[in-house]
């Protein structure tokens, strides 16, 4: 008899498959940092030499900083609003007996699967018909719409992970609904709120289609980068910027996923 269990036995084909899979996923992305340090305007092999000039150029690029500023503002506002809506929505669908709660959740989650291009066109028509000027505000509103499902999913799992009797115990001890919300609900879902905010932030930050359709004269960062692609000499600078954003995004998403799990074990009613 083999002492090693079936699960632990080395599996060569599976190992190679995993390597290929990871390579397929990440090698294209890794070209970004690679060429961002290449001393050549053209993105092509062979590599010419190491330089940090593209990073220097990027840091001196005023329009780029303006676009980054726009993106950060849109992302902050939209993720704050989406998280707030998600918080109330998640509490409602997990805590109260609502008739037809399943269809309601389905409708809330729908923007996740509706193609963004369809939603972009629809929102453009709506916004112009209503007579709004296209601006960062219209982008932010669109970003709220596409972020809410993610905020809901994150916060619903947080609410489901903590026992409703915590809130009942609070009201039993004399706390009114608002007091219970501030003293029990909010502290207990706080990690979920942070996770939701970070997730919505990354969604908004690299979103292109909505920003393209609904943007005015101020570009967000993705729109700005797309504009730069027309000028070959700008491309290495874009790569430098892209590499930085890549690193920051990874860090944020990992942090958000970590927060989503953090603390769930001890808030569950386990004895």
């Amino acid at each position: 008899m083999n002492e090693v269990s079936y699960i632990d036995r080395p599996n060569r084909p599976l190992f190679f498959y995993a390597i290929l899979y990871l390579a397929f996923l990440y090698i294209p992305v890794l070209f970004l940092p690679l060429f961002s340090f290449n001393d050549n305007i053209y993105i092509a092999f062979p590599l010419k030499g190491f330089t940090t000039q593209w990073y220097v150029a990027m840091f001196n690029d005023q329009p780029m900083w303006a676009a980054l500023n726009n993106s950060l503002r849109v992302a902050c506002v939209s993720s704050a609003i989406a998280t707030l809506l998600g918080l109330f929505g998640a509490k409602a669908v997990t805590r109260y007996r609502i008739p037809g709660v399943k269809p309601i959740i389905f409708v809330i989650m729908l923007p996740m699967v509706v193609p963004l291009i369809i939603m972009g066109v629809a929102l453009l028509i709506l916004v112009t018909r209503l007579g709004f000027n296209l601006s960062l505000y219209t982008i932010a509103m669109a970003h709220v719409l596409i972020s809410v499902p993610f905020a809901m999913a994150t916060l619903m799992s947080r609410f489901e992970g903590f026992d409703p009797s915590m809130e009942e115990a609070s009201s039993d001890l004399g706390a009114g609904p608002w007091s219970t919300f501030w003293r029990v609900t909010l502290p207990m879902v706080a990690p979920g709120i942070v996770a939701s905010f970070l997730l919505c932030f990354t969604i908004s930050f690299d979103e292109f289609i909505m920003a393209f359709f609904l943007g005015g004269t101020d570009p967000t960062l993705p729109i700005f980068i797309w504009g730069q692609l027309r000028f070959p000499f700008r491309l290495p600078g874009v790569l430098a910027l892209g590499s930085l954003i890549l690193i920051i995004s990874f860090v944020l998403v990992f942090f958000a996923l970590w927060l989503r799990r953090w603390g769930v074990e001890d808030t569950k009613s386990g004895i």
Binding site: S171, G174, R183
Partner: protein
Amino acid sequence: MTNNDAFVSLVDVSKHFGSVVAVDHLSFTIDSGEFFSLLGPSGCGKTTVLRMLGGFESPTTGEIYIDGTPMSEVPPHHRPTNMVFQNYAIFPHLNVRANIAYGLRYDKIEKAEVARRVEEALEMVKLPGFGKRRSNELSGGQRQRVALARALIKRPKVLLLDEPLGALDKKLREEMQLELRALQESVGITFIFVTHDQEEALTLSTRIAVMARGKALQVASPKDLYNRPVSVEVADFIGQMNFVEAQVIDVRNGEAVLDTAGLGKITTAANSDFIHKDAAIIVAIRPEKLLLSADRQSENQAAVQGTLKTSAYLGDRNHFYVSVEGAERPLAVAATEAEVSGEKPFDHESTVWLSWADNALILLPRD
């Protein structure tokens, strides 16, 4: 139609969840200072009753009164009740001290007084020095004590307990039962206690409501419940019981003559209205009320002959199963070590005698 003496009363209370009837026209009253248990299998509606008392569910029909005040319009945070939840619901983001002091904020009590009362409460539940701990640093029994302290510090008129000992192991549970009873006697607060453990209910309660299908089958003291159950269902739920079918042959001068399937012809006191001539009834007798012997003890005492089928050794007592002619199932007989020590060991398939005192029989209506 509220009972004026009653401290807590349920008047024709029903609770429906959609098409499910959780509580079905329930009425009973609880006196001040009682340790009252709601006992029943899971799904019998006992927890729903407790949650309605706490204000977490509102009755579909009927009214609950606490200290004379109708409760239907009173939200949980304004009720004179506090609850110990089944899982204790200790706030994980607060330490023990903050958990216990949580509710005092709403009673407008000075800081120094809050600190004093928290220390007193920790003292009372035997957790002095635990104030700075968090819930994940506490054992199950300690959490239960914190939950108890957190509720009692509010000095409620009624304390509601939802199977608070269910999660504890047997030994700790028995210890906590005694402490809980002592605590209730010292604070004098009315306790309403939900449990599915009949032994626990018998140990703790001044009175018990046995529930099934959303109804109270019987509300009585533990002693009455054990010795005078009103139905086969209650008798079966509380302790172990032998049942034999019987036919009423005659009723005369308050005495009934019964033809039983297994215990022979019996003459016994008849004081219930379901006992009349030709009625089919059930005769019940506790295993410990049956006396096992090798020979017939006395001609005067009611007795029946049977065959010993199996026996089970339970440490402090033995259980014997004796099949008698006419009875559907073998009768269970419980005997302590002392009771059987004088006898020579009973062999399986040996012929034995079962005897009983006349007042050991319980007559029950057929369901």
